[in-house]
């Protein structure tokens, strides 16, 4: 081990290569391939049961893949046991050793790595300071809040200066406010020590906020991997579009590389979509509302039924008669749109995705 928190540049490359894992008949991972650049923080996002934890445990060496490889820093560690992989882990469930103080917890890993008592006490102190818990060093797990325990767990994982840091929904047991604060703190610490990090979550806001890149998983596979902005604004698949952010599902008809939604023609992300009825996925941001004199009833005319103030933007729910549409626009422009106002939808001509087959409308 090297000394102290070495700062950025310490990270190593991590490669998961076509990992497969089954439990009985259930496929947890169906060929996961993912490469993390040195020092990068990748968030794995996906619905419950899609294999996130399994991916993490295979990387940590707590479980073995049926096939595929795990390569850390250019070395194939697929058959290396967990305790020789040098991978730090923060678990979803609280995992501090209950009979050790916070300090002792952090020291423990270094003790296992034969760091001398004086040295490890000093470094444990540094780590606790890094996570802002110097004042709680003497406390036991049962004397700390959930958030504090997870911070100690983070310090404990980082104290051994692991090559890779894994976090399995470390914040899921915490309330929203603590969660967003702690997630920023994890990011700050991660940037400071520069460890390559895989962060598992099913909370899209968390993933988009913390990660360099987000990997969206579904049914044991990676659907899309990219920077948060790309994942959000240019989802590659209908699954990603629907899983990340809010999406309007609007009935329309595909014709010659375009989709006709309520009389508005929108371009398609995949122009080769076959013609026929389809559900277009339209982000609320791509919907704006106009109020003008001429409100002749038509497919694009509706009535505002609710307005949610989100800060700089507002989200407005419009009743179209045959369903509702969400629009999101700057609060300054939404001010006049109180409930009951008649509005006309304006759809931005962004390329849209078509929902997966199973949700095809039956009527034309």
């Amino acid at each position: 081990m090297t000394t102290g928190a070495a700062g950025p540049g310490r990270g190593v490359e991590v490669r998961l290569d076509d990992l497969q894992r089954r439990y009985g008949n259930a496929t947890a991972l169906a060929g996961l391939t993912l490469t993390l650049a040195p020092g990068e923080l990748v968030a794995l996002l996906g619905p419950s049961g899609c294999g996130k934890t399994t991916a993490l445990r295979l990387l940590a060496g707590l479980e073995e893949p049926d096939s595929g490889r795990v390569v850390v820093d250019g070395v194939d560690v697929t058959n290396v046991p967990a305790n020789r992989r040098d991978i730090g882990m923060v678990f979803q469930a609280y995992s501090l050793f209950p009979h050790m103080s916070a300090m002792r917890n952090v020291e423990f890993g270094m003790q296992l790595h034969d760091v001398g008592p004086a040295e490890r006490r000093k470094r444990a102190g540094d780590m606790l300071e890094l996570v802002g818990l110097s004042a709680h060093a003497h406390k036991y797990a049962h004397q700390m809040s959930g958030g504090q325990q997870q911070r100690v767990a983070l310090a404990r994982a980082l104290a051994i200066e692991p090559k890779v840091l894994l976090l399995d929904e470390p914040l899921s047991a915490l309330d929203a406010k603590v969660r967003s604060r702690l997630r920023d703190e994890i990011r700050r610490v991660q940037l400071e020590v520069g460890t390559t990090t895989l962060f598992v979550t099913h909370d899209q806001e968390e993933a988009l906020a913390i990660a360099d890149r987000v990997g969206v998983m579904n049914a044991g596979r990676l659907e899309q991997l990219g920077p948060p902005t790309t994942i959000y604004s240019r989802p590659a698949t209908p699954f990603v579009a629907e899983f990340v952010g809010l999406t309007n599902r609007l009935a329309g008809v595909v014709k010659d590389g375009e989709v006709d939604v309520r009389g508005a023609r929108l371009p398609l992300v995949k122009p080769d979509t076959p013609n026929g009825p389809a559900i277009a996925l339209v982000r609320p941001e791509a919907v704006s509302l106009v109020v003008d004199g001429d409100m002749v009833p038509g497919p694009l005319i509706g009535t505002v039924i609710a307005t949610a103030f989100l800060g700089a933007t507002s989200r407005i729910t419009v009743d179209m008669g045959d369903g509702t549409v969400l629009a999101q626009m700057p609060t300054s422009e939404a001010g006049a749109l109180s409930a009951g106002t008649r509005v006309r939808l304006a759809l931005r001509k962004d390329p849209v995705l078509i929902a997966r087959d199973e949700s095809k409308p039956t009527e034309a």
Binding site: A60, G61, L62, P81, A82, N83, R84, R85, D86, I87, G88, M89, F91, A93, Y94, S95, F97, P98, H99, F108, G109, L112, H113, Y140, A141, H142, A153, R156, A157, I160
Partner: protein
């Protein structure tokens, strides 16, 4: 006799309880609510009063009086007689040995159960069977052993026919080793029952955290599971000790003559028809036993408290 003592507690407890009910409409109920709690404990107080404190009182009083009702301390000096000291030694030896064997055997069994499927058939079978076996004792148990591993028991005869004679120098079943063997029969299941919760409290993440920090199996047991389980293990061992220390029926059924262990001596002193009956001495022996059990259970409680704070 001061028999109505527990009754007094009962009445005062109920009295303040009804005050609390009357005052229930008031917003602040701090100390009043405490009184209600006491009402719930009343049956417990009656029970412990009648079956624990009252007998103890009788024993204390009895051990300090002569047959004619005069005060004396002679009963306590009487304990120093060599045959009684020997009985105490035997009682402690048997209890310690059967507790140690039971603790180790029961803990291993509990470990096997705890690491298996929590809703599996093995766990359910073993725990419910243990619940039965831990209560098994007295004449039935003694007879079961006599019929199987006694001098004419089927197991003994079978093994002897096949060249294994475990009574080469005479039958030890009716002696200390026999008692230890028989006591283990209920000690092991008892250990399983009392120790299993401690094992269930051990979280798999602790092992995985140890591994990811670079530790192996040895480190896990040495620094994590060992220290976490040790207080509970010791505490349960003490409980087993107390359990066999005060056991009477099985030994009485097995050993028909002499008083190898203290409970049998007490019985002898209480019931002897040959003029050797000495109820005062019997009560002082009982008091000495109570003291031993009290010390042991106090230690047990302290150890349990320590663990329960960790495994919240």
């Amino acid at each position: 006799m001061t028999a109505p003592l527990p009754d007094t507690t009962y009445v005062s407890g109920r009295g303040s309880g009804s005050t609390a009910i009357a005052a229930a409409g008031r917003p602040i109920a701090g100390s009043r609510r405490l009184s209600l709690t006491w009402v719930g404990l009343v049956p417990f107080f009656i029970y412990t009063g009648l079956f624990l404190f009252l007998p103890t009182l009788i024993i204390v009083v009895g051990s300090l009086t002569t047959k004619d009702g005069a005060f004396t301390t002679a009963n306590f000096s009487g304990i120093a007689q060599s045959y009684l000291v020997k009985a105490f030694g035997a009682s402690i030896t048997i209890s310690a040995a059967s507790a140690a064997i039971g603790a180790i055997g029961g803990a291993l069994l509990a470990y096997a159960v705890a690491t298996g499927n929590p809703r599996g058939i093995l766990r359910r079978t073993v725990t419910s069977a243990s619940g039965v076996f831990a209560q098994f004792g007295g004449v039935t148990l003694a007879f079961a052993f006599i019929a199987t591993v006694g001098y004419t028991g089927v197991v003994y005869l079978f093994l002897k026919d096949h060249g294994l004679d475990f009574y080469p120098k005479g039958v030890w079943l009716y002696d200390l080793p026999g008692l230890i063997l028989i006591y283990t029969y209920f000690q092991i299941p008892l250990m399983l029952i009392v120790f299993l919760p401690a094992l269930d409290g051990i979280r798999p993440q602790w092992r995985e955290a140890t591994e990811s920090l670079g530790g192996g199996t040895w480190h896990y047991w040495r620094y994590v599971a060992g220290p976490l389980l040790a207080p509970s293990f010791l505490g349960c061992t003490l409980l087993l000790f107390a359990n066999s220390f005060s056991a009477y029926a099985t030994a009485a059924a097995l050993i028909t003559q002499g008083g190898v262990i203290v409970p049998l001596q007490i019985a002898n002193l209480l019931t002897s028809e040959t003029g050797r009956a000495a109820p005062g001495l019997a009560k002082s022996l009982a008091l000495a036993m109570i003291v031993v059990v009290l010390v042991v259970t106090t230690l047990y409680t302290l150890l349990q408290r320590r663990t329960s704070q960790w495994v919240r």
